[in-house]
């Protein structure tokens, strides 16, 4: 058995280069320092847990500290309860790439991907769940953003909000960068179970026979900070997988805001009475496939926000539905030591993987 952790930056993986939590008192901005080389790195992933001191506080990322609102635009879709609407701005409104919105002392959770190489405008894609309190997820956003600067290499960044000291205690920002080193002829093999600052697979199951649940145990949500669950499954019965931290099945402790499309029908819905995250759905035909994943912030001290998405009931070339959801497990205190995925029937061949982000 190989143990230990490889530290240092490693080519070919995405790795944490910035991890900041606001402590003590609220702040107006957070600077990364000169940690980027966007023309070389190319790709960044930004995970944000935003807590605000006032309502409608936007969290921006400003490449090279550029806060000129004339240089940014965004297009997005938001779902709030049963409403689906446009959320878009051309220049003059957003003073940075839009990462999330938050409301006073509520949590927002999101993930954004930025492609940083110069030569053209820089574009980011992201999702975030906004206004999470108790089992209520007030809104869900899909957003693309752009920075009109085409020439400057991105060497640093500033996180800002839409006013003074709006970034509240508990806000956490994690940035992973794509490593591309040059020079030398790479050879050899290194085997390691863990690389510091990367997504590491901590559990993997490919079912040889049907099962009604898969458990990932031995977790430590306070060490890992975030978990990412990915699934591709079939089922012999109509079923939806229930995903539960610590197998907690207490009613009225899970909430969601969902955006869902089935052919041309577009639906939004909100709920706060579930006893699990419901991730995907599979119809009665056993040949159907559903793909699903879930990102959850696992550290104690806050309710546990998540983003999950699924493409469901796929047969032939027919994709029956697509869903994007903001979710919450209304538990602030219990360390996540297991994640249990339950369904009446996961068919043989179903694949479930769990990754942990060690920062």
């Amino acid at each position: 058995m190989i143990t230990g952790m490889l530290s240092g930056l490693v080519n070919g993986v995405q790795q944490v280069v910035f991890d900041y939590e606001v402590t003590g008192s609220a702040v107006s901005s957070i600077s990364t320092g000169d940690i980027f080389n966007g023309d070389v790195d190319g790709l960044y992933t930004i995970i944000t847990l935003q807590v605000a001191t006032a309502s409608s506080s936007i969290l921006h990322f400003c490449p090279n500290g550029d806060t000129n609102a004339n240089n940014y635009g965004a297009r997005g879709i938001y779902a709030g309860d049963t409403t689906v609407a446009d959320s878009s701005y051309n220049g003059g409104t957003l003073a940075g790439l839009r990462l999330s919105y938050a409301d006073a002392n509520k949590v927002s959770f999101g993930v954004t991907t930025l492609y940083a190489k110069a030569g053209v405008v820089r574009i980011s894609n992201g999702y975030f769940a906004r206004g999470i309190s108790g089992t209520t997820v007030s809104y869900l956003w899909v957003t693309g953003s752009m920075w009109s600067n085409t020439t400057d290499n991105i060497i640093n960044g500033t996180f800002t909000s839409s006013g003074t000291n709006l970034i509240n205690v508990g806000t956490r920002i994690i940035i992973l960068k794509s490593n591309h080193f040059t020079g030398g002829i790479p050879t050899g093999i290194i085997t390691t179970p863990k690389i510091a600052g990367t997504w590491t697979r901590v559990g993997s199951t490919i079912l040889e026979s049907a099962a009604s649940s898969v458990t990932f145990s031995g977790l430590d949500g306070n060490t890992a900070v975030c978990y990412y669950l990915s699934m591709s499954f079939k089922s012999s019965t109509t079923a939806a997988p229930a995903v539960r931290p610590n197998n907690s099945s207490t009613a009225n402790t899970y909430g969601h805001q969902t955006l869902f499309a089935q052919n041309t029908a577009l639906t939004a819905l909100r709920g706060g009475t579930r006893n699990s995250f419901l991730i995907g759905w599979n119809g009665t035909y056993s040949g159907y496939v559903t793909q699903a994943d879930l990102l959850i912030f696992s550290k104690t001290g806050f309710i546990r926000p998540s983003i999950y998405r699924f493409v469901e009931n796929i047969s032939g070339t027919s994709v029956e539905g697509i869903s994007l959801c903001g979710g919450v497990w209304n538990n602030t205190s219990d360390n996540i030591t297991s994640i249990v995925c339950s369904m009446a029937n996961f068919a043989a061949g179903s694949q479930l993987d769990l990754y942990a982000l060690y920062t």
């Binding site: 070919g12 190319g42 051309n90 490919i206 591709s232 499309a261 041309t264 496939v289 493409v311």
Partner: protein, 177 residues
């Protein structure tokens, strides 16, 4: 610290290996404008899952991502949610590949290739218009109607060549120890 290894594979050419239970880059392609396609050799039955990021700089042409070079006109299906200039809609249809948006679009796919299953993907994208306007924000689910092992992931402009600077990155889920 920079570790002395590089787990990149470009067009199947190994340049060192990292045994690590995570995602590793297997393709990092930047076009010089003369290529009409690029592909990477894979073993979908082993890898099971891929992350694909494409910044497509072709102004008026999308790119198709195809598995096993299958260009069948109706081999791929999709279900999308789409904001085009403020008009939000949903649609389902078929194509000859997984769709990659044009016009400086940033596209991300999570792709599953489990043995014996249909091959599926979830896509997120934004597409640039002009000035400070993004004209499209987009999510989609996709399927390749095949249960065969995937041995290549290929990228094909709808016509002509890639535009210089178009970037494609592929990460593969790699081995358990």
């Amino acid at each position: 610290m920079q570790a002395k290894l590089n787990p990149q594979y470009v067009s199947g050419t190994a340049q060192g290996k990292l045994n690590f239970p995570g995602f590793q880059e297997i393709l990092n392609f930047t076009s010089v404008g003369s290529e009409s396609s690029i592909s990477v050799t894979v073993d979908g039955d082993v890898d099971k899952e891929y992350k694909v990021i494409v910044r497509n700089l072709i102004t008026d042409q999308h790119i198709y991502m195809r598995m096993n070079a299958d260009a069948g006109a109706t081999s791929y299906g999709y279900q999308r949610i789409y904001n085009d200039g403020g008009n939000i809609s949903a649609a389902r249809g078929t194509l000859s590949g997984f769709y990659v948006n044009p016009i400086k679009g940033l596209n991300e796919y999570s792709i599953f290739t489990p043995t014996g299953f249909l091959k599926t993907g979830f896509m997120t994208a934004a597409r640039y218009d002009s000035g400070t306007a993004l004209n499209v924000s987009y999510i989609a689910g996709s399927v390749y109607n095949s249960t065969s092992n995937i041995t290549s992931l290929g990228f094909y402009p709808a016509s002509g060549n890639f535009v210089t600077g178009t970037s494609i990155i592929v990460y593969a889920r790699r081995s358990n120890l």
